[in-house]
Structure formats: structure tokens, C-alpha cells
């Protein structure tokens, strides 16, 4: 069944024509043009398609697009402001938390929600590892990814954040 879908995509009211069978992953990539949302396992094992749905990380491959009517969806494209990379992205490049880059957009979105949730509490390695357990990196760059999250949180506490 074809249906219209209206939702906030990266802070912009967006209406797309979708098929009720489509997942959020397919709609974001195909109709929405958000190709940072990577398609990989499509069964919730890898986290490469992680986006924020109403500020909470979810696997876009396991969400029916029809169910996000009226909701807000944030992808890593939405973190960029006026063409400037987000401090979180900068932390990932500075700390070499990015190797091949396939898992990175999902890692970014999960880490972004984590850092926002944490507020002023400094994150521990253990909390970061536990939170990112649903995001697989096959370059085995986890140590640098955890470093990146620490650095990003410091940037947030220093007031460089949006």
C-alpha cells in the first residue's frame, strides 16, 4: 500500500511517498537521500543503520517507515551545521576512531545520544562499551572509538556542541 509519510527528518518537516512495506532504512536511503544510514545485516545485529528516533537510537532496518508518522528522525547528516562537521565527528577523526568508515555513522548516532544523556557525568569506558555493544566495527577499532567518545564528551563539556 502506498501512503504519504510526514515526519521531521533532520529537523525539517518532510513528506515522502512510501510503500507500507518499506523499512525506515529504505525510506531514508531511497526517498530521503540520507545515504549515511548504512544497509548491512538488516536484522539488528550490526548497528550500521542506527538513527535517532525521537532522540533514542534505533536500528532503522527494524523500524517500519509507516510507524514514524509525526516522529522526529536524526541521521548523521543532521549533525552537520552550515557545512561544518559536528564536534563529535571531529573527535572521531582526531582520535582515529574511523577506519573504513562503514560503521561510523551508526557509531556517531549512538554516541551522540549517549553523550547527550550523560549530561555532566563523565562517561566511563565500561558505560561506552556497554552502550555501543550493538554497533559492530570489523576494522577492530574499538579502542580508538572509545577514545573518540571521551574526547567528544570533553568538547561538549567545554561548550563546543550542538
Amino acid at each position: 500500500m502506498k501512503m504519504p509519510l510526514t515526519f521531521m527528518l533532520n529537523n525539517q518537516q518532510t513528506t515522502l511517498e512510501i510503500d507500507a512495506r518499506q523499512t525506515l532504512l529504505e525510506v531514508l536511503r531511497n526517498q530521503g537521500g540520507m545515504t549515511s544510514v548504512h544497509r548491512s545485516c538488516e536484522e539488528g545485529e550490526c548497528g550500521a543503520c542506527t538513527v535517532l528516533l525521537n532522540d533514542e537510537p534505533v536500528n532503522a532496518c527494524l523500524v517500519l517507515a509507516a510507524s514514524v508518522q509525526g516522529a522526529s528522525v536524526l541521521t548523521s547528516e543532521g549533525l552537520v551545521k552550515n557545512g561544518k562537521p559536528h564536534p563529535l565527528m571531529k573527535a572521531f577523526t582526531d582520535e582515529l576512531g574511523i577506519q573504513c568508515g562503514f560503521c561510523t555513522p551508526g557509531m556517531l548516532m549512538n554516541a551522540y545520544a549517549l553523550i547527550n544523556r550523560a549530561g555532566d557525568n563523565l562517561l566511563t569506558d565500561q558505560v561506552i562499551r556497554k552502550t555501543l555493544e550493538g554497533n559492530l566495527c570489523r576494522c577492530t577499532g574499538y579502542v580508538n572509538i572509545i577514545k573518540s567518545v571521551h574526547t567528544a564528551q570533553k568538547a561538549k563539556l567545554a561548550g563546543e556542541w550542538w
Binding site: M1, M3, D19, A20, R21, Q22, T23, E26, N30, Q31, G33, E42, E43, G44, E45, G47, T50, L53, E56, P57, V58, N59, C61, L62, V63, L64, A66, S67, Q69, N110, T131, E133, G134, N135
Partner: protein, 313 residues
């Protein structure tokens, strides 16, 4: 965007109509009821073409990998937007959890931490944050997987479910709910709306443990939950449940009865764990062999009773 409309029309008239992208998916009509009355009239009206879903984290992979096939259009009834099924209520004796409450909310709920901590303990070991944010306990139960991790803690807590249909509300003990892998007492026209759990008492303790090939996003090789109440140094009531060792999650009555009326000393616990492992006949599959499952079941039951004993000290 390239214009694919001509291609799509041709596809819709062929056998390929159940494919979208490279994966199978039957044609769907999406419904999102708000009230129980709308929900019940929808499941009634659509009969066998109706599927009730909440988080969809099991539905989507099941359909797309071809484990579930449908030769007709599906009426998908999404209960995740129903406020009435999205609540956790606690009275003095009972916790009542709506079927579409997400696993994350169960994990973070102070009511559940206080009233049924063993459930939160199990949920913390399930899937990943992303999945827990959408998956629901109602879905975990209705999928009737032998490996459902919320079920052993619920079984040992003497939980029941509320099923609603056009005739009204029915209370079904969770021990009577499962009929086999993927099968339950639910019939067409019925919806599981709530899960009810008697709240934990002062003289009781419960524990859950699972073993998988990694700690996150993994289907249990074996899971075990134990609940014991103690008075005057002896075990009053014992509940032992195991997952992934039978066609449904099961309770092991022989081992429970053995424990009741006895002090929880090391010898009694070891014998009880041995009896629990003896009572089950798991299968060998891609995740594990039956011998390993029996061995792990014994260890998990032992460790869980020891943990309960420790908590009651």
C-alpha cells in the same frame, strides 16, 4: 531520484510483487489504533490476515528472511502508539505492564526494579540498546520462542497475561500460554494486552543468568531463572525455569519440589541442579549440542540458587 514507476507497475502484476528491494515482504496495510475498542474491532474484522505488532524487531527479520511467508495481503496492526498499552502500573501486590512497553522502559522503571528486579536483570542482557528501545516484552512473549529471555524470569515470578478479544478479558497463566516453538494459546481475534507479575516479597530472592556465544545481541544457548522464598532457614517455595532447552521455556517441577522444605546448603543445591538438568531433553542445533546444554543448565541453576542464597543472607 530516478523514476521507477513503470518498473514498479510491471512488478506489481507479477510474482515479484512480494519482493521489495531484494527481500520478501507481503503487501501491507498499516493500521495504528489508539483505543482498545478500535484494536479489537480491527483484529476481529481482518481475521487471519491481521498481524498485531509492536516493536517489529522480530516481525521484520522473520518476514524478510522467509521464515514467515504470507500469500495474501497483511493487515498490520501496530499497537506501539496506544497510550493505554504503554503503561507500567504498580499496586501493592501486582505489577501490570502494557504489552507495548519497550524493553528500555522496563530496564529503567523504578517500579520494576523494586517489584520484579529479576526481570530487569534479564532485560539488561538482551539484544542491544537500539533493539531494546523498540522491542517489547509483549512481542517477546507472543513470538513464543524457546529462547525468549524475558520468559524464564516471568515464569518463576508466577506471572500471567491478559488476553482480550470481542468476548472480553481473559487471564492466562504464563505456564499455560506456550504450545510449542512459535505457538501459543492466542487465536485469531485475540490480543495479548498486559503482563501481570506478583510483586517481590521481603523473604524472597530471584536470579537470572544466560549463556550465549557473546554477551550482546545473542540468542541464548541456555538461560535459567530461579526464585526462592525462605522462612526459618528452609526454602518455602522454589521456582526454576529454563530457556532454550525444550520446545518452549519450561519450569522443572521435580527440582523445585526437591528444594522446598530443605535448607539451602551446598549439597542440596548441587542435587537440585543435577535434577533440573536431568529433567530436560534439549536438542542439538547450530548454537549448541544437547550435552553442552544439559551441562550448562546444571551450572546455571546452581549459580542462580547460590546467588539467591547470597541475596537472602
Amino acid at each position: 531520484m530516478p523514476d521507477n514507476s513503470a518498473g514498479n507497475n510491471a512488478m506489481e502484476n507479477s510474482v515479484m510483487k512480494n519482493f521489495i528491494g531484494s527481500r520478501a515482504m507481503p503487501d501491507l496495510v498499516y493500521h495504528s489504533p489508539k483505543e482498545i475498542s478500535d484494536l479489537l474491532s480491527m483484529v476481529d474484522a481482518h481475521g487471519t490476515s491481521a498481524r498485531v505488532v509492536a516493536g517489529c524487531t522480530d516481525f521484520i527479520p522473520s518476514v524478510r528472511t522467509g521464515r514467515w511467508c504470507f500469500d495474501q495481503e497483511l493487515n498490520l496492526i501496530d499497537i506501539s502508539k496506544m497510550p493505554v498499552l504503554n503503561q507500567i502500573e504498580k499496586t501493592d501486590d501486582v505489577l501490570k505492564i502494557g504489552a507495548s512497553v519497550s524493553l528500555t522502559r522496563i530496564l529503567e522503571s523504578p517500579e520494576i526494579k523494586e517489584g520484579c528486579p529479576v526481570l530487569a536483570q534479564a532485560v539488561a542482557q538482551m539484544a542491544s540498546l537500539q533493539v531494546r528501545n523498540t522491542a517489547t516484552m509483549g512481542g517477546n512473549i507472543c513470538m513464543a520462542s524457546p529462547a525468549a529471555d524475558t520468559v524464564p524470569p516471568l515464569l518463576v515470578s508466577d506471572a500471567w497475561v491478559i488476553i482480550q478479544d470481542a468476548q472480553g478479558e481473559h487471564k492466562v497463566l504464563l505456564t499455560d500460554f506456550f504450545k510449542g516453538p512459535g505457538r501459543s494459546v492466542l487465536t485469531s481475534g485475540q490480543v495479548l494486552t498486559h503482563i501481570c507479575i506478583p510483586v517481590k516479597k521481603a523473604n524472597e530472592a530471584a536470579w537470572f543468568q544466560k549463556i550465549g556465544t557473546r554477551t550482546a545481541v545473542i540468542i541464548s544457548v541456555v538461560s535459567a531463572a530461579v526464585r526462592v522464598t525462605i522462612s526459618n532457614g528452609v526454602c518455602d517455595t522454589a521456582r526454576i525455569a529454563l530457556g532454550s532447552v525444550a520446545p518452549t521455556p519450561v519450569r522443572v517441577a521435580e527440582a523445585e519440589q526437591f528444594l522446598e522444605g530443605k535448607p539451602l546448603d551446598d549439597q542440596v543445591i548441587a542435587e537440585c541442579a543435577r535434577m533440573a538438568a536431568q529433567a530436560i531433553s534439549p536438542i542439538s542445533d547450530l548454537r549448541s549440542s544437547k550435552e553442552y546444554r544439559k551441562d550448562v543448565a546444571r551450572t546455571l541453576v546452581k549459580r542462580s540458587i547460590l546467588a539467591c542464597r547470597e541475596a537472602l543472607k
